[in-house]
Symmetry: C2
Subunit: 197 residues, 2 copies
Protein backbone atom coordinates (compact mmCIF):
# COMPACT_ATOMS: atom_id res chain seq x y z
CA UNK A 1 0.00 0.00 0.00
CA UNK A 2 1.34 3.42 -0.87
CA UNK A 3 0.40 6.11 1.59
CA UNK A 4 0.32 9.27 -0.49
CA UNK A 5 1.40 12.34 1.49
CA UNK A 6 -0.16 15.68 0.75
CA UNK A 7 2.27 17.35 -1.61
CA UNK A 8 3.84 20.08 0.50
CA UNK A 9 7.15 20.00 -1.37
CA UNK A 10 8.98 23.03 -2.60
CA UNK A 11 11.45 22.57 -5.47
CA UNK A 12 14.22 22.69 -2.81
CA UNK A 13 12.85 20.00 -0.53
CA UNK A 14 11.92 17.73 -3.42
CA UNK A 15 15.46 18.15 -4.72
CA UNK A 16 16.97 17.03 -1.44
CA UNK A 17 14.89 13.82 -1.51
CA UNK A 18 15.88 13.17 -5.13
CA UNK A 19 19.58 13.68 -4.41
CA UNK A 20 19.44 11.21 -1.55
CA UNK A 21 17.84 8.59 -3.79
CA UNK A 22 20.27 9.29 -6.66
CA UNK A 23 23.21 8.83 -4.28
CA UNK A 24 21.79 5.60 -2.87
CA UNK A 25 20.72 3.93 -6.12
CA UNK A 26 22.86 5.74 -8.67
CA UNK A 27 21.25 8.13 -11.15
CA UNK A 28 20.85 5.43 -13.81
CA UNK A 29 19.29 3.04 -11.32
CA UNK A 30 16.67 5.57 -10.14
CA UNK A 31 13.20 5.59 -11.73
CA UNK A 32 10.40 8.13 -11.27
CA UNK A 33 8.72 5.33 -9.34
CA UNK A 34 11.60 5.26 -6.84
CA UNK A 35 11.43 9.04 -6.48
CA UNK A 36 7.68 8.94 -5.99
CA UNK A 37 8.01 6.29 -3.27
CA UNK A 38 10.83 8.10 -1.47
CA UNK A 39 8.97 11.42 -1.56
CA UNK A 40 5.67 9.80 -0.63
CA UNK A 41 3.82 11.66 -3.39
CA UNK A 42 2.53 10.49 -6.76
CA UNK A 43 4.54 10.66 -9.94
CA UNK A 44 2.15 13.23 -11.36
CA UNK A 45 2.76 15.41 -8.29
CA UNK A 46 6.48 15.22 -9.04
CA UNK A 47 5.81 16.21 -12.66
CA UNK A 48 3.96 19.20 -11.26
CA UNK A 49 7.33 20.42 -9.88
CA UNK A 50 9.79 19.27 -12.54
CA UNK A 51 9.84 18.00 -16.12
CA UNK A 52 11.49 14.77 -15.00
CA UNK A 53 14.45 13.00 -13.50
CA UNK A 54 17.03 14.78 -15.64
CA UNK A 55 15.81 18.19 -14.49
CA UNK A 56 16.31 17.09 -10.89
CA UNK A 57 19.85 15.97 -11.74
CA UNK A 58 20.57 19.26 -13.50
CA UNK A 59 19.35 21.29 -10.54
CA UNK A 60 21.29 19.17 -8.07
CA UNK A 61 24.63 19.27 -9.89
CA UNK A 62 24.09 22.98 -10.62
CA UNK A 63 23.89 23.61 -6.92
CA UNK A 64 27.25 21.84 -6.41
CA UNK A 65 28.84 23.56 -9.42
CA UNK A 66 27.55 27.01 -8.40
CA UNK A 67 29.12 26.45 -5.00
CA UNK A 68 32.46 25.49 -6.51
CA UNK A 69 32.60 28.18 -9.22
CA UNK A 70 31.42 30.75 -6.67
CA UNK A 71 34.72 30.21 -4.84
CA UNK A 72 36.68 31.43 -7.84
CA UNK A 73 34.83 34.77 -7.72
CA UNK A 74 35.62 35.39 -4.06
CA UNK A 75 38.25 38.05 -3.24
CA UNK A 76 40.56 35.41 -1.72
CA UNK A 77 40.68 33.64 -5.06
CA UNK A 78 41.14 36.81 -7.06
CA UNK A 79 43.72 38.83 -5.17
CA UNK A 80 47.23 38.19 -3.89
CA UNK A 81 49.96 35.78 -4.89
CA UNK A 82 48.89 32.73 -6.87
CA UNK A 83 50.03 30.40 -4.09
CA UNK A 84 47.81 32.15 -1.54
CA UNK A 85 44.92 32.05 -4.00
CA UNK A 86 45.30 28.35 -4.67
CA UNK A 87 45.52 27.60 -0.93
CA UNK A 88 42.38 29.69 -0.46
CA UNK A 89 40.56 27.83 -3.22
CA UNK A 90 41.61 24.47 -1.77
CA UNK A 91 40.36 25.44 1.69
CA UNK A 92 37.07 26.77 0.36
CA UNK A 93 36.59 23.70 -1.84
CA UNK A 94 36.75 21.52 1.27
CA UNK A 95 34.24 23.83 2.95
CA UNK A 96 31.81 23.79 0.01
CA UNK A 97 32.18 20.04 -0.37
CA UNK A 98 31.35 19.39 3.28
CA UNK A 99 28.55 21.98 3.38
CA UNK A 100 26.92 20.67 0.19
CA UNK A 101 27.93 17.05 0.70
CA UNK A 102 25.06 15.20 -1.03
CA UNK A 103 25.11 17.57 -4.01
CA UNK A 104 28.87 17.35 -4.52
CA UNK A 105 28.76 13.57 -3.97
CA UNK A 106 26.25 13.32 -6.80
CA UNK A 107 28.38 15.58 -9.00
CA UNK A 108 31.45 13.44 -8.43
CA UNK A 109 29.60 10.25 -9.33
CA UNK A 110 28.20 11.55 -12.61
CA UNK A 111 29.16 9.20 -15.44
CA UNK A 112 28.29 10.97 -18.68
CA UNK A 113 25.41 8.95 -20.14
CA UNK A 114 23.00 11.86 -20.63
CA UNK A 115 23.36 15.41 -21.91
CA UNK A 116 23.14 16.79 -18.37
CA UNK A 117 25.79 14.39 -17.12
CA UNK A 118 28.14 15.30 -19.98
CA UNK A 119 27.59 18.97 -19.24
CA UNK A 120 28.36 18.37 -15.55
CA UNK A 121 31.58 16.51 -16.41
CA UNK A 122 32.57 19.35 -18.72
CA UNK A 123 32.03 21.93 -15.96
CA UNK A 124 33.98 19.82 -13.46
CA UNK A 125 36.90 19.63 -15.87
CA UNK A 126 36.66 23.42 -16.27
CA UNK A 127 36.89 23.90 -12.51
CA UNK A 128 39.89 21.56 -12.28
CA UNK A 129 41.46 23.45 -15.16
CA UNK A 130 41.02 26.78 -13.39
CA UNK A 131 42.74 25.39 -10.31
CA UNK A 132 45.52 23.88 -12.44
CA UNK A 133 46.09 27.35 -13.95
CA UNK A 134 46.49 28.81 -10.47
CA UNK A 135 48.95 26.06 -9.54
CA UNK A 136 50.90 26.79 -12.71
CA UNK A 137 51.05 30.49 -11.87
CA UNK A 138 52.29 29.65 -8.36
CA UNK A 139 55.05 27.49 -9.84
CA UNK A 140 56.00 30.37 -12.15
CA UNK A 141 56.22 32.64 -9.07
CA UNK A 142 58.66 30.14 -7.54
CA UNK A 143 56.28 29.40 -4.66
CA UNK A 144 55.45 25.83 -5.66
CA UNK A 145 57.86 23.08 -6.59
CA UNK A 146 58.74 23.08 -10.26
CA UNK A 147 59.65 19.39 -10.28
CA UNK A 148 56.05 18.22 -9.91
CA UNK A 149 53.89 17.70 -12.96
CA UNK A 150 50.98 20.15 -12.61
CA UNK A 151 48.39 17.91 -14.23
CA UNK A 152 49.35 15.10 -11.87
CA UNK A 153 49.45 17.40 -8.84
CA UNK A 154 45.97 18.74 -9.69
CA UNK A 155 44.59 15.21 -9.94
CA UNK A 156 46.17 14.15 -6.65
CA UNK A 157 44.99 17.31 -4.92
CA UNK A 158 41.42 16.74 -6.07
CA UNK A 159 41.79 13.02 -5.38
CA UNK A 160 42.51 13.88 -1.77
CA UNK A 161 39.81 16.56 -1.49
CA UNK A 162 37.14 14.56 -3.30
CA UNK A 163 37.79 11.47 -1.20
CA UNK A 164 36.00 13.33 1.59
CA UNK A 165 32.65 12.38 0.07
CA UNK A 166 33.49 8.74 0.84
CA UNK A 167 34.04 9.14 4.56
CA UNK A 168 33.21 12.63 5.84
CA UNK A 169 29.91 12.70 7.74
CA UNK A 170 28.91 16.02 9.29
CA UNK A 171 28.01 16.24 12.95
CA UNK A 172 25.48 18.72 14.26
CA UNK A 173 27.31 21.99 14.82
CA UNK A 174 30.31 20.70 12.90
CA UNK A 175 31.78 24.05 11.94
CA UNK A 176 35.01 23.64 13.91
CA UNK A 177 35.31 20.13 12.57
CA UNK A 178 35.00 21.43 9.07
CA UNK A 179 37.57 24.15 9.65
CA UNK A 180 40.06 21.67 11.11
CA UNK A 181 39.49 19.43 8.12
CA UNK A 182 40.12 22.28 5.69
CA UNK A 183 43.28 23.24 7.62
CA UNK A 184 44.59 19.69 7.51
CA UNK A 185 43.97 19.34 3.78
CA UNK A 186 45.78 22.61 3.07
CA UNK A 187 48.71 21.73 5.36
CA UNK A 188 49.07 18.30 3.88
CA UNK A 189 48.86 19.46 0.27
CA UNK A 190 51.07 22.53 0.52
CA UNK A 191 53.42 21.96 3.44
CA UNK A 192 53.41 18.15 3.58
CA UNK A 193 53.39 15.99 6.67
CA UNK A 194 57.07 16.30 7.44
CA UNK A 195 58.48 18.71 9.92
CA UNK A 196 60.95 21.14 8.34
CA UNK A 197 64.26 19.52 7.48
CA UNK B 1 22.89 -17.12 -29.89
CA UNK B 2 25.66 -17.84 -27.46
CA UNK B 3 28.84 -19.01 -29.05
CA UNK B 4 30.39 -21.24 -26.43
CA UNK B 5 34.18 -21.15 -26.46
CA UNK B 6 36.12 -24.22 -25.55
CA UNK B 7 36.95 -23.79 -21.88
CA UNK B 8 40.67 -23.07 -21.88
CA UNK B 9 40.55 -20.96 -18.74
CA UNK B 10 42.90 -21.29 -15.83
CA UNK B 11 41.73 -20.01 -12.45
CA UNK B 12 43.93 -16.92 -13.13
CA UNK B 13 42.51 -16.02 -16.51
CA UNK B 14 38.93 -16.66 -15.42
CA UNK B 15 39.56 -14.40 -12.45
CA UNK B 16 40.72 -11.54 -14.67
CA UNK B 17 37.50 -11.76 -16.72
CA UNK B 18 35.38 -11.83 -13.56
CA UNK B 19 37.17 -8.81 -12.08
CA UNK B 20 36.57 -6.82 -15.26
CA UNK B 21 32.84 -7.62 -15.12
CA UNK B 22 32.62 -6.91 -11.37
CA UNK B 23 34.25 -3.51 -11.93
CA UNK B 24 31.93 -2.68 -14.83
CA UNK B 25 28.62 -3.81 -13.33
CA UNK B 26 29.38 -3.77 -9.62
CA UNK B 27 29.65 -7.02 -7.68
CA UNK B 28 25.98 -6.94 -6.64
CA UNK B 29 24.87 -6.27 -10.21
CA UNK B 30 26.83 -9.22 -11.65
CA UNK B 31 25.12 -12.59 -12.13
CA UNK B 32 26.67 -15.93 -13.09
CA UNK B 33 24.90 -15.35 -16.40
CA UNK B 34 26.91 -12.15 -16.95
CA UNK B 35 30.12 -13.96 -16.07
CA UNK B 36 29.30 -16.82 -18.41
CA UNK B 37 28.59 -14.39 -21.27
CA UNK B 38 31.74 -12.36 -20.68
CA UNK B 39 33.91 -15.48 -20.47
CA UNK B 40 32.18 -17.12 -23.43
CA UNK B 41 31.79 -20.41 -21.56
CA UNK B 42 28.78 -22.03 -19.90
CA UNK B 43 27.84 -21.48 -16.30
CA UNK B 44 28.58 -25.12 -15.53
CA UNK B 45 32.09 -24.65 -16.95
CA UNK B 46 32.56 -21.78 -14.52
CA UNK B 47 31.34 -23.97 -11.66
CA UNK B 48 34.01 -26.42 -12.74
CA UNK B 49 36.60 -23.80 -11.73
CA UNK B 50 34.98 -22.12 -8.74
CA UNK B 51 32.13 -22.65 -6.29
CA UNK B 52 30.49 -19.39 -7.38
CA UNK B 53 30.60 -15.65 -7.66
CA UNK B 54 31.67 -15.08 -4.07
CA UNK B 55 34.72 -17.31 -4.48
CA UNK B 56 35.79 -15.20 -7.45
CA UNK B 57 35.39 -12.07 -5.35
CA UNK B 58 37.37 -13.59 -2.51
CA UNK B 59 40.21 -14.59 -4.81
CA UNK B 60 40.25 -11.19 -6.49
CA UNK B 61 40.31 -9.11 -3.32
CA UNK B 62 42.83 -11.55 -1.78
CA UNK B 63 45.18 -10.78 -4.64
CA UNK B 64 44.89 -7.05 -3.91
CA UNK B 65 45.19 -7.54 -0.15
CA UNK B 66 48.18 -9.88 -0.48
CA UNK B 67 49.89 -7.23 -2.59
CA UNK B 68 49.23 -4.54 0.01
CA UNK B 69 50.09 -6.58 3.11
CA UNK B 70 53.17 -7.92 1.33
CA UNK B 71 54.54 -4.37 1.36
CA UNK B 72 54.55 -4.33 5.15
CA UNK B 73 56.85 -7.37 5.20
CA UNK B 74 59.44 -5.83 2.89
CA UNK B 75 62.72 -4.65 4.45
CA UNK B 76 61.96 -1.02 3.52
CA UNK B 77 58.84 -1.19 5.67
CA UNK B 78 60.57 -2.97 8.53
CA UNK B 79 63.86 -1.17 8.99
CA UNK B 80 64.92 2.40 9.55
CA UNK B 81 63.20 5.45 10.95
CA UNK B 82 59.41 5.37 10.99
CA UNK B 83 59.20 8.32 8.60
CA UNK B 84 61.33 6.51 6.02
CA UNK B 85 59.24 3.38 6.46
CA UNK B 86 55.97 5.23 5.99
CA UNK B 87 57.31 6.97 2.88
CA UNK B 88 58.43 3.58 1.59
CA UNK B 89 55.00 2.06 2.26
CA UNK B 90 53.26 4.98 0.53
CA UNK B 91 55.47 4.63 -2.53
CA UNK B 92 54.99 0.87 -2.71
CA UNK B 93 51.23 1.22 -2.20
CA UNK B 94 51.07 3.39 -5.31
CA UNK B 95 53.15 0.80 -7.17
CA UNK B 96 50.97 -2.13 -6.08
CA UNK B 97 47.82 -0.17 -6.81
CA UNK B 98 48.90 0.64 -10.36
CA UNK B 99 50.34 -2.84 -11.01
CA UNK B 100 47.20 -4.59 -9.72
CA UNK B 101 44.78 -1.88 -10.81
CA UNK B 102 41.60 -3.93 -11.50
CA UNK B 103 42.04 -5.99 -8.32
CA UNK B 104 42.62 -2.97 -6.08
CA UNK B 105 39.77 -1.09 -7.79
CA UNK B 106 37.45 -3.95 -6.90
CA UNK B 107 38.76 -4.02 -3.33
CA UNK B 108 38.13 -0.28 -2.94
CA UNK B 109 34.56 -0.59 -4.20
CA UNK B 110 33.57 -3.42 -1.88
CA UNK B 111 30.47 -2.46 0.10
CA UNK B 112 30.05 -5.07 2.81
CA UNK B 113 26.86 -6.93 1.86
CA UNK B 114 28.36 -10.43 1.97
CA UNK B 115 30.70 -12.24 4.33
CA UNK B 116 33.58 -11.92 1.86
CA UNK B 117 32.97 -8.21 1.44
CA UNK B 118 32.89 -7.63 5.19
CA UNK B 119 36.12 -9.59 5.53
CA UNK B 120 37.71 -7.47 2.79
CA UNK B 121 36.61 -4.25 4.51
CA UNK B 122 38.03 -5.54 7.78
CA UNK B 123 41.41 -6.30 6.14
CA UNK B 124 41.47 -2.89 4.46
CA UNK B 125 40.89 -1.20 7.80
CA UNK B 126 43.70 -3.31 9.24
CA UNK B 127 46.07 -2.12 6.52
CA UNK B 128 45.08 1.52 7.08
CA UNK B 129 45.58 0.96 10.79
CA UNK B 130 49.10 -0.40 10.26
CA UNK B 131 49.98 2.69 8.22
CA UNK B 132 48.41 4.97 10.83
CA UNK B 133 50.64 3.30 13.46
CA UNK B 134 53.71 4.07 11.37
CA UNK B 135 52.58 7.69 10.97
CA UNK B 136 52.10 7.91 14.72
CA UNK B 137 55.60 6.55 15.34
CA UNK B 138 57.03 9.11 12.90
CA UNK B 139 55.25 11.90 14.78
CA UNK B 140 56.71 10.57 18.05
CA UNK B 141 60.18 10.68 16.44
CA UNK B 142 59.57 14.36 15.65
CA UNK B 143 59.78 13.70 11.90
CA UNK B 144 56.13 14.37 11.11
CA UNK B 145 54.06 17.35 12.19
CA UNK B 146 52.43 16.86 15.55
CA UNK B 147 49.65 19.37 14.81
CA UNK B 148 47.91 17.10 12.31
CA UNK B 149 45.34 14.57 13.47
CA UNK B 150 46.75 11.15 12.51
CA UNK B 151 43.40 9.56 11.76
CA UNK B 152 42.55 12.44 9.45
CA UNK B 153 45.99 12.42 7.83
CA UNK B 154 45.71 8.67 7.18
CA UNK B 155 42.33 9.12 5.53
CA UNK B 156 43.56 11.98 3.37
CA UNK B 157 46.71 10.11 2.42
CA UNK B 158 44.69 7.08 1.33
CA UNK B 159 42.10 9.36 -0.26
CA UNK B 160 44.84 10.72 -2.48
CA UNK B 161 46.44 7.35 -3.19
CA UNK B 162 43.18 5.51 -3.76
CA UNK B 163 41.88 8.19 -6.11
CA UNK B 164 44.35 6.75 -8.64
CA UNK B 165 41.90 3.97 -9.45
CA UNK B 166 39.53 6.63 -10.82
CA UNK B 167 41.90 8.11 -13.37
CA UNK B 168 45.17 6.19 -13.68
CA UNK B 169 45.34 4.10 -16.84
CA UNK B 170 48.55 2.21 -17.50
CA UNK B 171 50.36 2.57 -20.81
CA UNK B 172 52.36 -0.25 -22.30
CA UNK B 173 55.82 -0.10 -20.76
CA UNK B 174 54.59 2.35 -18.14
CA UNK B 175 57.23 1.63 -15.54
CA UNK B 176 58.77 5.12 -15.59
CA UNK B 177 55.31 6.57 -15.50
CA UNK B 178 54.50 4.56 -12.45
CA UNK B 179 57.71 5.57 -10.73
CA UNK B 180 57.09 9.25 -11.44
CA UNK B 181 53.58 8.86 -10.07
CA UNK B 182 54.86 7.24 -6.88
CA UNK B 183 57.48 10.01 -6.51
CA UNK B 184 54.85 12.71 -6.90
CA UNK B 185 52.51 11.15 -4.36
CA UNK B 186 55.31 10.86 -1.81
CA UNK B 187 56.54 14.41 -2.43
CA UNK B 188 53.07 15.84 -2.19
CA UNK B 189 52.13 13.95 0.96
CA UNK B 190 55.37 14.39 2.89
CA UNK B 191 57.02 17.53 1.57
CA UNK B 192 53.99 19.36 0.21
CA UNK B 193 53.75 21.37 -2.97
CA UNK B 194 55.41 24.48 -1.61
CA UNK B 195 59.03 25.31 -2.09
CA UNK B 196 60.88 25.64 1.22
CA UNK B 197 59.99 28.82 3.08
Amino acid sequence: MTTAKRDTYTPETLLSVAVRVFNERGYDGTSMEHLSKAAGISKSSIYHHVAGKEELLRRAVSRALDGLFGILEEPGAQRGRAVERVEYVTRRTVEVLTAELPYVTLLLRVRGNTKTERWALERRREFDHRVAELLKAAVADGDLRADVDIRLATRLLFGMVNSLVEWYRPHPGADTDREQLADTVVHLAFDGLRTAR
